[in-house]
Structures are given as structure tokens and as C-alpha cells.
Amino acid sequence: MKKGLVKLLALLLVLAVATPLVAQVGKSSKPSKDWKIALVPKDSTNAWFVRMEVGVKQYAKDTGLNAFQKGPAKTDAAMQAQVIQDLIAQGVDAICVVPVDPAALEPVLGEALKKGIVVVTHEASFQENTMYDIEAFNNADYGAFIMDNLAKAMGQKGLYTTMVGHVTNASHNEWADGGVAHQKATYPGMTLLAAEPRVESEDNLEKAYERAKELFKKYPNLKGIMGTSSKDAPGVARAIEEMGLKGKVFVSGTGLPNENKTFLKDGTLAAATLWDPKDAGYALCSLATKILKGEPIADGLNLKLKGYESMHFAPGSKKVLLGSGWIVIDKKNVDSFGF
């Protein structure tokens, strides 16, 4: 019994290693009305992916193609692999995936590729068994974009600092570095607070709020905080409101619409930035269709969607495509997202 299990595992392992990168072509011989394009999110109950499905439905409506979303009921790598297995059995033509755990999906995605199914991924830049991976943006560019929003609110002058979840978090620090580099190149009137150039919020609303209060007490000249973690902007905004600094001190950063609604509406927070999962869902379907049609995928790829009009390969990669798919959430559009 045990031996049999080991043999099975070994076989799976061999399959997993042997199958990647087969048939990068993917052009379908079927007429396009028969294509089935499935998007598998991490978790179909999560608000983020409920929003992504809106993009998939929009794509199906715009193109008349059979595109749909089907995901596990909770964030679980094994359940997600099962969903993909079922889709392969149903004979879909393309699978778009946002993996829970990219490594855990390698075998099943390898199997899909072997069967000639088009596989594209999102938020999985190290996935082996995929044709292409879409990332909404380049980290440094996104940081520069947050900085643009802060600079606009601060009138392009004054002292500012940056806040990250943890100083060890790779993407937060890449955003902050990108923002600081952009400020140095573009906004000479602004200065980075040398004594505290990077503050930690521990991805915690309460800590972001406490750290901001300390900063405002210690550095009365501080005019802005660039947030990166989604907890930074709302936490700092609370401190600004309570301390009576509205209109004098500004914050920008990543933020979910619902969490920031109050502060955006009363003007404490000028703008929150985000990438819209709806657009990512739309872009994934659009990319899968291009491959099915046999169109070449090259640098400068246009998926005919704002933020994804001119996608570039990440340096040194032939699979990872970067867009500039971020959006600004402000007073005017905050109610239109539904997440």
C-alpha cells in the first residue's frame, strides 16, 4: 500500500518535471464560437475576485465568446487544483489562473499544457507551467504613481516620508524606493525626511495610526506620508483627522475603496491607488483569446484595455508581461467599485 503510494508520487513527480513547456503555440483549430475560456481565481467568495468576475463577464459580453469564472469556495491550493482538473476534463480551450500557491499548481497546469490547453496566469511571475503571466504593473512605476498623487496633494513641495508594512516586505519597499527615486527626479521641491526615511506600520491599521501621530508630533514640518501597505493610508488619515491636521498634512497610498470611503469623501485622503481586479480579469481573457487566435505575443502587446495597452516583458523574462494597470480611487468614483 505504502509502496504503491510512493510509486504514484514518483510518477506524478516525473510527469510534473517532464511536461513543462510543451507546445507554446496554442492556436486553436476550432471556430471561435466553440471556445471555452475559464478563469480560476484564488477564492470565488472573496470580494476581490467577485470584482474580477465582473471583468470576465464584461469580456464575454463585449466579444460574444464563452468566457466564465469558476473557482474554489475558499482560498485552498488543493481545492483550486481540483477545479482546474475538472476544467481539463470538461475540455476547455483556455485556462486563466490566479494561483493560491504557484508551486502546488505546477503538475495540473503542466497536464493542461500537454493537452494543448492555453494556460495564462496572474500574480505568479515564477510559474513554470504557463505560457504567459500578466502583472498589473512594474513595482517601481507603481511607487512613482503613488508619489505623483502625494506630490499633487502637497503642491509639489515640503518634507515627506514613506511607510511600509515591514522593512522586509519586498514589494512595499520596491514601491517606496520607486516613489523616492521618482521624487528626486521630478519634484525638487520635496524632501525626504532623513531621520526617519522609512516607517513600519506592520500592516496594521492601529500601528499606522500610532506611528503617524508620533511623526506629526516629532516633525511638525512633515507635510506628507507615502503609504504602501493597504493599511497605511487609512491609518494615517485617521491620525490626520483626529489631530486637526486636515488640509495641512497629506497621505497617499494603496487602499481598498470600501475601507477608505469615509476619508475620501471628507477629503482627509486625497486619493487611494489600486489595481482593479476587474481589469486584470478582462486582460487575462483577452490574452488567452489572442493565443487561441494564433496572434503573436510580443513586447508592446496591446490588450485594448486601459493600463494594458502597451505591455512589456519583465527584464530577462519571455513570459512575464507588465502593464501599467493601476487606478486612482477618489471622492468621485469610490462608490462605483463594489469592493
Partner: protein, 337 residues
């Protein structure tokens, strides 16, 4: 007994001295320590850790250790929040506190059963239940950040007064939840000082067999402690949710270490039998002042952990040295207990 308590008291002046030194350092470095709004900010930050530390101190005094209170607080708060949101509750906030206390009590009863009745080791049990309660929250309730009902939101916005910093014109609000902390302190003070139950908590922590022979119902006292601490954790979870105006399922987790460190820093003996509320509050004050003043002192983020660690080691070291010192003095003077 009385001598023991007096001995514990002797470590309090050292913690107090450390706080005074730290405050002076912050004042010199920032000129901002002794301002109304800074003191209000600190009091506000103390509320949740102080509420937790009262329960943690009771458990440690009784000879146990509890690491499950953040998980109990999170699950009690989150379950209450979701139920109230589902029924569109808009009534009094007291019901929310009562429900959270009820959930906390139920979870505390699980600890009480395993520790008090089945006599399993406290650390193992509470590590297990901590994981269990977190699992229920993340699995069964599929917890994610969620808003709070309107009455809790309104309660979160209540303030007792607003302190203004005349130098910089900054203002800070004192949240009404501080009254809950003061109430809990009074209740536990009376319990520990004037009831046989309170005496029992010290007695079983000092020597369980002796306490049993002296006629204390050891199982009963333990069951009471874990149920009470569970209910307090539930209330604390709701305090945090109302102060943040948002129910965050994981944001309290990991706090147990800071809280236990504060309790020990305040002179509570880890092996049980010794500990005071005054010492505990001083320990919490030291930890909170420290973690909320590193920017004011001017320590760069990269060095904050080194600084915090050093203060904890020096602080607990002095406390331990002091306790050892009095023990030696006690032994050499031959007074005994």
C-alpha cells in the same frame, strides 16, 4: 503571604524609575512628552494591552500561563460583529459587549475544562486552543476585515475630552473605552484584595498542595480564572473593534508576547504566587511608552527592535535581580515567611 506581597512591591519602584528615565529622555529628545495630547495618545494605546494584561497577570499569579487570549478576543469580537451585522442590529452597544463576553466565557470554559478539571499543562492547552479558535475564525467563519454595526461605530467615535497641544496645535481624543479599563481594574482589585476567591488565586500559585490542604477548592478557583479571563478577553476584543471602528480578525494575534513581557516586567513572578495590579500597569506603561516613543526619541525604524529588546532585558533583569536580592536579604536576616 503579606511579606511576599511586600517583596513583590519592591520591584515596582524600579519599573517606575525606568519609566521616569524614559519619559525624561523622550522629553529631552522631542520636547513633546509632557504635552496633553501625547499623554492622551499614550493612555489610548494602553487600553487594549492593559485589559489583556490584567487577565494574563491573574493566570500567571495562579501558576499558569495563557497564550490564547488574543485568539479568544479575536473570535469573540468577530463572531459578535458578524451576527450583529447579519441582523442589522442598531440597538445599544452594551449587547455587543455582553455577547462578546459570553463568547469569550465559552472559550475560556474550554481552557478551564482542560486545565482545571483534566489538569493538563496550561501552556500546551492554551497553545492548542489558540490555534483552534483562530482556525474556527479563518475556516468556519471565513473571516476577513469587516465593518462594525452603526451603534458600535458611534461608540467608537465617543470621546471623553479632547486634549490640545499648545505648541503645535495638535489635538488628540480620549476614547470612552478607557472607562472599561478603569472598571476592570477596580473589579479585579476588589476581587484579589477582598475575596476568598482572590486569596485562592495567590494561594494555588504559591503552592497548590498547601492551598488544597488549607481548604481552597483548587479546581473551582482554576475554572473561575480561565472563564473570567476568557470573558475579559472577549470584552477586550470588542473594545479594540470599536476603537478602530473596524473588525479585523487577525490584528490582535501575536500580542500575547508583549502582554506577558509587560506582566513579568511589572514584577509578577512567572512561577506564580506573586504579582500586583500596580506592577502590571507599570509594566504595560513602560512597554507602551517605549513602543510609542521610538520615533519621538529619534531612533530609526531599523534599530527599533534592538532598542526594544535591550529595554526588556534590562528591565526584567533588574526586576529579577531585585527579587533575588530581597530573597537573599530575607534568608540572611532569618525572618522567613
Amino acid at each position: 503571604m503579606i511579606n511576599m506581597r511586600r517583596m513583590a512591591k519592591r520591584s515596582e519602584p524600579y519599573v517606575f524609575g525606568a519609566i521616569v528615565l524614559l519619559c525624561l529622555l523622550i522629553q529631552v529628545q522631542s520636547k513633546q512628552f509632557f504635552t496633553g495630547n501625547n499623554l492622551v495618545d499614550l493612555a489610548r494605546s494602553m487600553i487594549v494591552p492593559a485589559l489583556f494584561s490584567i487577565g494574563a497577570m491573574m493566570v500567571i499569579v495562579s501558576g499558569g500561563i495563557d497564550v490564547s487570549f488574543p485568539a479568544i478576543a479575536s473570535l469573540a469580537m468577530y463572531a459578535t460583529d458578524r451576527i450583529l451585522l447579519n441582523v442589522n442590529y442598531s440597538g445599544n452597544v452594551m449587547l455587543a459587549y455582553a455577547m462578546a463576553a459570553g463568547f469569550g466565557l465559552a472559550m475560556g470554559a474550554v481552557n478551564a475544562l482542560l486545565i482545571g478539571v483534566l489538569r493538563l499543562p496550561t501552556l500546551v492547552v492554551t497553545l492548542g486552543t489558540s490555534s483552534l479558535f483562530t482556525g474556527i475564525m479563518q475556516g468556519a467563519l471565513a473571516a476577513s476585515e469587516s465593518p462594525v454595526p452603526p451603534s458600535i461605530l458611534a461608540h467608537g467615535k465617543e470621546k471623553l475630552f479632547t486634549a490640545t497641544n499648545t505648541q503645535l496645535g495638535l489635538t488628540s481624543d480620549m476614547p470612552s473605552q478607557i472607562l472599561i479599563l478603569l472598571g476592570a481594574l477596580l473589579l479585579v482589585f476588589l476581587l484579589l484584595r477582598y475575596t476568598m476567591l482572590g486569596r485562592g488565586i495567590y494561594a494555588i500559585g504559591g503552592d497548590e498542595a498547601a492551598a488544597r490542604r488549607a481548604g481552597f477548592n483548587v479546581v473551582g478557583v482554576k475554572v473561575f480564572i480561565y472563564c473570567f479571563v476568557g470573558a475579559m478577553a472577549g470584552v477586550t476584543g470588542m473594545v479594540r473593534a470599536s476603537m478602530m471602528m473596524n473588525a479585523h480578525p487577525t490584528n490582535l494575534l501575536g500580542m500575547e508576547m508583549t502582554v506577558i513581557a509587560a506582566v513579568v516586567l511589572g514584577g509578577t513572578r512567572v512561577t506564580g504566587g506573586l504579582g500586583t495590579l500596580t506592577g502590571t500597569m507599570l509594566g504595560v506603561a513602560l512597554m507602551i511608552i517605549l513602543s510609542n516613543s521610538l520615533i519621538l526619541i529619534g531612533i530609526p525604524t531599523y534599530w527599533t527592535r534592538v532598542f526594544t529588546g535591550a529595554v526588556i532585558i534590562i528591565g526584567t533583569g533588574v526586576t529579577a535581580w531585585q527579587a533575588g536580592g530581597s530573597g537573599r536579604r530575607l534568608a540572611s536576616s532569618g525572618t522567613g515567611l
